[in-house]
């Protein structure tokens, strides 16, 4: 700021914020005898007006008994003496002031002074912290991230008090100018991964970043792969658990989804309950999930192979019912399965955005009427319907919705392959899938790679106290996370 001309400075700020901005300017006098002219500026709608009235205007206008003319460092003096807001600072760079104003702070300008006081009066309307609808856990905390960046950071901060917890703020989006926080633990995170992530974030040059999902797509390496390359969560406990393994949290202003980098394939099969429930139970559930993923991909294809090419493999007692149920069905087995799978996809996609009351009708029509009439009108055989039904149910076992969608899409190419080549086609499909997965990486970290030491937390969930090291799959600088503390109280026999 070049001079202390009040009207001139207000005009400069108005230009900086944009002429149409809902900026509020209030002129007032401060001090006794020969009062100084002053003004406060804030942007309407994102500030807490109570604080402005009570803690800034009230003391400055009414409670200054002295003459402030000629006072050196007047801005600093006012901050220290009269403005009863906890977070104030004195700033002389106009650009910085404008940036603060956009984020809900209040600027106090004094005629003749080249410095501006910034008081923290942030307080826009926001959603209350509540349990995320998409990720519920029967055992575990009930809080979830919200749309406000500061609240989200505070949710992490209150749970991790380590001094190495680092929060880096970035700005993204040419017009939306969203704030973005990189949250990580400095002495765990791998610096190369961090640098790579920052490099990509800084390179993003778009008008607006409206959601975490969009941001992920801007910075991911493989556009055309089916598989999600960042895990996203609304649960602070899950985010923090990942951060403790050496991952980086990316919190974007305006969205409750927190992105977790780097991602590995097996991470999408882990759920919060795995760590809150007992070991044997969690291991069993995790085994179920992996089995479910295999069933989703393979079961319709295997069924097709069995009835189209290798009927001799169906156990003899099943042959009669399976064959009898197929008598008089016009569609080929492939078309039959495909048709039912597509109907199920219609129902799922249709029910996704419907209000609950109408969704009930959909499930009634879809589930009962279509299911029953499809068999009665000889379009599909009951066995096919059973197989498709099992496949649909198993898709719901995969805890991550992105991964679940990717995996359920995979059964279509698998069906086509099985239709052309039988069991060999399924083998081809699986091999290509494995090669594809192995060739992916997330920020340079292999997406699908198994390490012997990570087996404790991959297909099973070993006792928590045994997981002394951080997963090897995620690069980190400090692999030890706990010691064999149970030796201290467990009797050795």
């Amino acid at each position: 700021m070049e001079n202390g001309d009040l009207v001139g400075n207000i005009e400069l700020i108005r230009n900086g914020l944009g002429a149409q901005s809902p900026m509020v300017v209030k002129h007032f006098y401060i001090g006794s005898d020969q009062p100084l002219e002053a003004a406060i500026i804030y942007v309407n709608g994102i500030t807490n007006k109570d604080v402005v009235d009570r803690d800034i205007l009230n003391p400055l206008m009414i409670h200054i008994p002295e003459n402030l003319n000629g006072k050196a460092n007047i801005a600093d003096y006012l901050c220290k003496r009269y403005i009863s807001v906890s977070n104030t600072l004195v700033e002389s760079d106009l650009e910085v002031v404008i940036n603060y104003l956009k984020r809900g702070k209040t600027a106090i300008l004094i005629n003749g002074a080249t410095e501006i006081i910034i008081a923290d009066t942030t307080g826009s309307q926001q959603r209350a912290i509540m349990e995320p609808m998409n990720e519920t856990a029967s055992k575990g905390p009930r809080d979830g991230f919200v749309e406000n960046l500061e609240v989200n950071i505070s949710l992490v901060r209150t749970k991790v008090k380590d001094k190495n917890l680092t929060i880096e703020l970035l700005n993204i989006g040419r017009r939306s100018q969203n704030d973005l926080a990189l949250v990580y633990i400095n002495d765990i995170v791998d610096k190369q991964v961090l640098e790579e992530l920052k490099k990509r974030l800084e390179a993003v040059d778009v008008d607006a970043v409206l959601s975490a999902g969009a941001l992920d797509q801007y910075i991911e390496s493989y556009t055309y792969t089916l598989f999600p390359q960042a895990d996203s969560t609304e649960r602070p406990d899950r985010a923090i658990g990942n951060m403790m393994e050496g991952r980086i949290l990316l919190i974007l202003e305006g969205t409750p989804m927190v992105l977790v980098y780097p991602a590995t394939f097996m991470q999408f099969f882990q759920a919060v309950e795995d760590y809150t429930q007992r070991t044997v139970l969690s291991s069993f559930v995790r085994f179920l999930r992996i089995l479910a993923a295999c069933i989703v991909i393979t079961l319709p294809a295997v069924y097709l192979t069995l009835i189209k090419f290798n009927v001799e493999l169906i156990p003899i007692k099943f042959v009669t019912p399976v064959v009898q149920s197929r008598v008089g069905i016009a569609l080929t087995p492939f078309l039959e399965i495909m048709a039912m799978e597509i109907v199920v996809e219609f129902l799922r996609e249709g029910g996704l955005r419907l209000p609950t009351k109408i969704a009930q009708t959909l499930s009634l029509v879809g589930g009962i009427i279509i299911g029953d009439t499809a068999i009665q009108s000889k379009m599909v055989s009951p066995t096919t319907l059973l197989i498709v039904g099992i496949t649909v149910i198993t898709t719901f076992l995969i805890p991550n919705y992105d991964m679940s969608l990717s995996i359920r899409l995979l059964r279509f190419p698998m069906l086509v392959l099985a239709n052309i080549m039988g069991i060999f086609g399924i083998a081809v499909g699986w091999f290509i899938l494995l090669v594809h997965l192995s060739s992916l990486d997330s920020l340079g970290v292999p997406y699908f790679e198994f390490h012997k030491s990570d087996m404790k937390d991959t297909f099973i969930r070993a006792p928590l106290w045994k997981m002394n090291k951080r997963p090897e799959a995620i690069p980190n600088t400090n692999p030890i996370r706990q010691t064999d503390f149970r030796d201290k109280f467990k009797k050795k026999r």
């Binding site: 791998d190 190369q192 991964v193 790579e196 780097p262 090419f309 290798n310 001799e312 493999l313 169906i314 156990p315 003899i316 080549m421 039988g422 069991i423 060999f424 399924i426 083998a427 081809v428 699986w430 091999f431 290509i432 494995l434 090669v435 192995s438 060739s439 920020l443 340079g444 970290v445 292999p446 699908f448 790679e449 198994f450 012997k452 090897e472 690069p475 980190n476 600088t477 692999p479």
Partner: protein
């Protein structure tokens, strides 16, 4: 203790290194391994297989010696260094054709096997064309991807090969008795026969520069070779023990008959599941061989050609594998050609090792 993302990028871990070696040797050949061996050595086939393990062990020792002296140069560079540019290049080319031969022979073998058991409706050409599309896809993704696949396949292989343990229930002692009854010369001939099944360990000579911990070349390869020998001996043993030396040769793929001893209640035939999972293992072995040949051929090509080699490999492999024909003619070709390749490989790496030894002695 520090782990970093980029440091590991192009290097193989010890287990990946070991499983690649394992995966190169154990491909589809194991399914018919008992045939050749038992034909010559009768009920002592398993002893022959044990003795035949000397060949891969020799390869490992030579490779680890070379690897110790030149940890960062693979055999292609060394061969040019010691044989001169022209001769070295020719030898390298022959080495490449070895892997091309292996890849195509295994593919042909696998195609014959699958088509005679469950894929009769596909022609050999279509089958091989689809197969090689997958292989070229895997090869084009590079060594790290193949290493990861090998790692997964290792566990699949071990589990699958152990499942016929059920056959022990239905076996009879007379099938294996008398031990050493077929005579020393038969056993040694059988050992020679089994040597061909052990081919593939030569890949160590190409990939050791990629191993991160160079000191573990010997340990890692020794471990994987030992597991291979144990599994081979187990397969020959259980096949002979279950079927008896006379019946083994009645089936092209005698080990598959043993898998039929396992009964799974949900499906009529365990062999079907076995063959399905084994497909992925076969794919992996062909991919490793394909990768090795592409790797050597890239040495000859300039930068622009390097990308194209993958695509050129496709028609070549397809043509070769298609022309091996049915199982009898494939076996004939394999039996005639493979011994020469084994001989060449032996001479090739032994002479390089000797050269290294002599040159070092001269300097000192």
């Amino acid at each position: 203790m520090e782990r970093s993302s980029n440091k590991n990028k192009n290097y193989l871990t010890v287990s990946q290194f070991a499983t690649i070696i394992f995966g190169t040797i154990i491909g589809t050949g194991i399914l018919s391994l008992p045939n050749g061996v038992v034909k010559v050595a009768h009920q002592d086939g398993w002893i022959s297989t044990l003795i035949g393990g000397i060949y891969p062990l020799y390869v490992v020792i030579i490779a680890s010696y070379i690897g110790k002296k030149f940890p960062n140069d693979n055999i292609l560079i060394l061969s040019k260094k010691y044989f001169g540019k022209i001769l070295g290049t020719i030898f390298n080319l022959i080495f490449a054709t070895y892997f091309i031969f292996m890849a195509s022979v295994i593919a042909s073998y696998y195609s014959n096997l699958m088509r005679s058991y469950m894929m009769g409706f596909l022609t050999s050409f279509k089958f091989l064309a689809i197969l090689f599309i997958c292989i070229i896809y895997a090869v084009s993704k590079g060594l790290k991807v193949i290493a990861r696949i090998s790692e997964i396949c290792f566990y699949l292989t071990v589990i699958l090969l152990i499942t016929p343990v059920n056959a022990l229930k239905f076996s009879h002692m007379t099938n294996i008795y008398p031990v050493f009854g077929s005579g020393v010369s038969s056993i040694l001939k059988g050992a020679l026969e089994s040597t061909f099944a052990y081919s593939g360990a030569e890949i160590i000579l190409l990939i050791y520069p990629f191993l991160k911990e160079k000191k573990k070349i010997l340990v890692a390869s020794f471990m994987s070779i030992t597991i291979v020998i144990v599994l081979y001996v187990w397969c020959v043993f259980i096949t002979t023990y279950y079927l008896g030396p006379d019946i083994v040769n009645k089936n092209f793929w005698s080990f598959l008959v043993v898998t039929e001893s396992v009964s799974v209640s949900a499906i009529n035939n365990y062999r079907y599941i076995f063959m399905y999972v084994w497909s992925i293992i076969a794919f992996k072995t062909i991919s490793i061989n394909g990768y090795a040949s592409v790797f050597i051929l890239k040495d000859f090509a300039n930068k622009i050609q390097k990308k194209k080699i993958n695509f050129l490999m496709f028609p070549l492999l397809l043509y070769l594998a298609y022309n091996y024909g049915n199982e009898i003619s494939r076996q004939n070709i394999s039996n005639n050609v493979l011994p020469w390749y084994i001989l060449f490989n032996l001479l090739y790496m032994t002479s390089i090792a000797v050269f290294i030894f002599l040159k070092r002695g001269g300097k000192a």
